[in-house]
Symmetry: C2
Subunit: 309 residues, 2 copies
């Protein structure tokens, strides 16, 4: 019911499944308590939008459909849609409990929206797919599969494109729902990737970086702060040396310098830093990377890596 | 963008997967063209809410998770949430194409909402689960599974409760979205079943009749018409005799009489008839059962079985 500024919180996959966990439903619900209790309290002061990753859940569904010849395999964009339903339900359910515990269930409405993200069919990513997904195959079973494959230590893996997100299709719907004081859960897994053909959309086999897509959405809904919460306390530099540190408040030019030095690995901290930099450059608003434990502290300005002038 | 009356259209599972089909993504998208072209045209005159079944999709996901020991099995309510994402995406995508073809994509907004349905934990259904779901097991593998089982011709099947839907948790959200001229896709598979514990909700292992749940929602959003569209042209009586016929306009008392005679089989036409009767009794508004081909004709009053005074 807050009339405060809009905050977009992008939850890492580890908000649901921690490293080393198999990812039972019980584990995922348990893990969600930590971020959701904070988000419930924040909803008193801010309008909240929650986005989330879906990597492990997509991986599990792909494994299951590879294991079962009786059922037609679904393309990746439909698997993505399934995880939006699955994770959206778990987030809503946890949020409901968290809101109830602080006594604001009844008046606070929330919705989970199936969300698409538009990508460019000419994106370089489609020419050279590099993102491994799904199970590891041995040479023989992999032979007949209609996938691009990459060789890893353990065997062959399917690779798909990870094109740049351009715009969230439901941005206007999401903005309207925020204006009506809904907490909105959306943009799961970065959104279901679609390309524009004439005026309609077509699903494509790709995965989207959820931090980059969340950055686009944060801009489109005019968020006052964009927070990426995962299992690290912020962006680290000089890792492994005596000067290693987690960045706190850091200027855009300094962070750009670190990025040029290759301090932020592609596929993990790289896109997170890019996402908050893009947001800050476009809006001048707060872009923060923090630990799942520190979401409230980070918004108060007391934790995480935050881009400043 | 219509300011007309609200129509709730409940699509049968066969809107997506026809009898005898395996249910590839291509088949499902193709099948959706017929209902979605009609719904796109209707959106010019009416505010539209779409609900849908999920039986075959749930069955497929259960089969897949039974085939794969590497991935933790998800409880039924999460499987239901997955199908809401999956089918919601397919419906949206087909609707988008259909709206584009008649030139009203840009101004018509639509959303898919993850939806819960509240059931009573003391519902008789929980004491004696009767609804078979998922794969057929042979004696041996079935032994270790923590399920209620029923013996069928082909082997053992898991049975779960099918409790009565009481209220749709997101009814207020859905109503607000309709008032804002969104086409709303929701209530997939009758909703994710939850029970109330204190003031919060907990998912339960059950399946919900999507027609009965849609009837509840139609009432709660004050629909002017509630249409159940599947692969039969209406409610039939005296089937197999010389007097067999599909009912057209039929009085409530007449339909109640037929129901008492057992004309409408449980598990197929029975709940459909009950759903439209409930709606008509509660609201005096139009309750219609029709073929997927006839949605527009039925709303014009020229097809299907419709309850009247």
């Amino acid at each position: 019911m807050a009339n405060g500024p809009i905050i977009l919180i992008a939850l890492g996959g580890n908000a649901l499944i921690k490293k080393g966990q198999a990812g039972t439903a019980e584990q995922q619900f348990k893990n969600l308590e930590l971020p959701m209790n904070q988000i419930a309290r924040l909803s008193r002061k801010y309008k909240i939008v929650i986005t989330h990753g879906n990597g492990p859940q997509v991986g599990n569904l792909l494994l299951q459909q590879e294991s079962c010849s009786e059922v037609p395999k679904m393309p990746l964009e439909i698997i993505g849609a399934m995880t939006q339903g699955q994770i959206g339900y778990m987030l809503e359910s946890s949020l409901d409990t968290a809101l109830m515990e602080i006594g604001i269930t009844e008046e606070q409405q929330f919705v989970t929206l199936i969300t698409y993200v538009v990508v460019d069919e000419n994106d370089e990513g489609f020419k050279n797919p590099t993102k491994p997904i799904g199970p590891t195959y041995t040479e023989q079973p992999a032979r007949g599969l209609p996938y691009n494959m990459v060789r890893t230590d353990r065997g062959l893996r399917r690779v798909v494109a990870s094109p740049k997100p351009q715009t969230i299709v439901e941005r206007r719907e999401i903005k309207k729902l925020i204006d009506m004081d809904f907490i909105v859960i959306c943009g799961g897994g970065g959104g279901i990737p679609v390309i524009r053909q004439n005026r309609k959309f077509r699903g494509v086999e790709a995965v989207i970086d959820k931090d980059l897509a969340s950055s686009v959405l944060a801009r489109e809904i005019e968020a006052a702060a964009f927070v990426i919460a995962s299992d690290v306390p912020g962006a680290g530099v000089n890792w492994g040396s005596q000067n290693q540190k987690i960045l706190g408040k850091v200027s855009l030019s300094q962070v750009q310098q670190y990025a040029r030095e290759g301090q932020f690995p592609a596929g993990s901290m790289g896109p997170k830093v890019e996402a908050v930099m893009d947001f800050y450059k476009a809006t001048g608003q707060r872009g923060i990377i923090c630990h799942l434990e520190d979401i409230e502290h980070a918004i108060e300005g007391n934790a995480g890596t935050e881009i400043t002038t």
